[in-house]
C-alpha cells in the first residue's frame, strides 16, 4: 500500500503547488483556492501519517484497508467542491444576465438621449 500512499502524497503536493502558482498568477481567487488547498493538505497528512490513517479507518469501520479512507475523502472533496462551484456558477450566471440586461437598457437610453439632442440641435 505504501506506493499508493506515496503516489497520493505526490499528487497532493502537486495540487498544492499548482494552486499556489495559480494564486500567484491571479488565475484563481483566494476564496476558491481554500477548498483545494484544504483537501490536498488533508490527503498529504493522512497519506504520510499511517497511525492516524488507521485510526480514522477504524473509526469509520473500514477495517484493514486504510487506503479506502483516502478514496472516500477524494470522492467527498470532489463532490463538495463541484457542488460549491455549481452554486457559484449559478450566482454568476444570474448576475451576468442582470448585468447584460442593465447594459442593454443603459445603452438604449443613452442612444435615445443622443438622438433627442441631435434632433433639438438641428432646429
Amino acid at each position: 500500500m505504501e506506493p499508493l500512499l506515496n503516489a497520493i502524497a505526490l499528487v497532493s503536493l502537486a495540487v498544492i503547488a499548482l494552486v499556489l502558482l495559480s494564486l500567484r498568477r491571479a488565475h484563481i481567487r483566494v476564496e476558491y483556492s481554500m477548498s483545494w488547498l484544504g483537501a490536498a493538505v488533508a490527503l498529504l497528512v493522512l497519506s504520510q501519517w499511517r497511525s492516524l490513517l488507521e485510526r480514522v479507518s477504524a473509526w469509520l469501520g473500514l477495517g484493514d484497508d486504510p487506503a479506502s479512507v483516502l478514496v472516500l475523502l477524494i470522492v467527498c472533496v470532489l463532490f463538495v467542491v463541484s457542488y460549491r462551484f455549481s452554486i457559484i456558477l449559478s450566482r454568476l450566471k444570474d448576475a451576468n444576465i442582470a448585468l447584460a440586461q442593465k447594459v442593454a437598457i443603459l445603452e438604449f437610453q443613452i442612444r435615445t438621449i443622443d438622438e433627442k439632442q441631435q434632433t433639438e440641435s438641428s432646429y
Binding site: 447584460a100 440586461q101 442593454a104
Partner: protein, 243 residues
C-alpha cells in the same frame, strides 16, 4: 419610439434571435394592426441581419450584449418597459407564428378584464393551431400539472403571445424565469395572487427559419419546467410557513 409611458400606454415587444427572414414582416403586420403603438425588438445577439431588418421595418431595437436565451431577452424588454413607465406590454414571437391581428383582442381584454395577464391561446378555437404531436402531448401534460397549482384550467400554458399590465410588469422585472419562461411565469403570478385569462389567437407556421425543438430537447424541457414549477411552489410555501 415615443418614450412616454404612462396611463394607458402600450408597448409591443418582440424577442428575436436570428429571425431576419420573418421579423420585418411581423413588424409590418403589427404596425398595420395597431398604428402608432411602439414596437421594441429585443435582439438576443443574433448572428444574422435581424437588427438591420427590424430597424428598417420601423422598430426600436434593444440589442443584448450577449446571448441570454428567451427568458433573459423577454425580461430585458419587461425591465425597459417598466422603467419607461408603460402600462401594458404585449409580447409576441419574432418568427411570425403569432398573428399580430390578434393584438387588439389581447389588449382590449387586458384593459377591460382587470387581469394581470392575458394569454393568446391556440386551443380555444381548435382549428387555429399548428402544433406538432410531441408539443401537443407536452401541453396536455402541463395542463394536468398546472390545474391544481393555478386553481383553474389553462389551455395553452406554453403560449408566447402574452399581454401583461403594469402590476405584472413590476413582478416580472424582478423575478422572471430565464429559460423556458411561459409556464413558470404563470406560477410566479399565482404566488402573487394575480389573475390571468385566455383569449383565442391564431397561430401560423413559422414565416422563416427552423424550429429548435427536438425529442431530446423536449424531454429536457419537460424536466426543466417541472423542476422550475416545483421550486416556485416550495419557495412560496416556505414563505407562507415563515409568516
Amino acid at each position: 419610439m415615443t418614450h412616454s409611458g404612462g396611463p394607458g400606454s402600450v408597448l409591443i415587444i418582440v424577442p428575436a434571435y436570428n429571425e431576419e427572414g420573418a421579423v420585418g414582416g411581423v413588424i409590418a403586420e403589427i404596425q398595420a394592426t395597431v398604428p402608432g403603438v411602439p414596437v421594441l425588438v429585443i435582439d438576443d445577439c443574433s448572428e444574422d441581419a435581424t437588427i438591420v431588418t427590424a430597424r428598417a421595418a420601423g422598430a426600436e431595437i434593444l440589442p443584448l450584449p450577449h446571448h441570454l436565451g428567451l427568458g433573459g431577452a423577454v425580461q430585458a424588454g419587461y425591465k425597459l418597459a417598466f422603467e419607461l413607465g408603460y402600462e401594458y406590454v404585449i409580447r409576441l414571437d419574432g418568427d411570425g407564428q403569432h398573428d399580430p391581428r390578434d393584438i387588439p383582442v389581447v389588449l382590449d381584454t387586458l384593459r377591460s378584464s382587470g387581469c394581470e395577464m392575458v394569454i393568446g391561446s391556440r386551443y380555444i378555437e381548435e382549428d387555429s393551431n399548428h402544433t406538432s404531436f410531441l408539443r401537443s402531448v407536452g401541453i396536455r401534460f402541463f395542463r394536468l400539472v398546472l390545474r391544481p397549482i393555478l386553481g383553474k384550467p389553462v389551455l395553452d400554458p406554453t403560449s408566447g403571445f402574452v399581454g401583461v399590465n403594469r402590476a405584472a410588469l413590476q413582478v416580472f422585472s424582478k423575478s422572471f424565469p430565464l429559460e423556458y419562461p411561459e409556464i413558470e411565469a404563470l406560477v410566479v403570478l399565482k404566488r402573487r395572487a394575480f389573475r390571468f385569462i385566455e383569449v383565442p389567437c391564431r397561430v401560423r407556421p413559422r414565416a422563416a427559419g427552423m424550429s429548435t425543438i427536438t425529442p431530446v430537447r423536449s424531454v429536457y424541457y419537460i424536466v426543466h419546467v417541472l423542476l422550475g414549477v416545483l421550486v416556485n411552489i416550495l419557495r412560496f410555501e416556505s414563505r407562507r410557513w415563515r409568516r
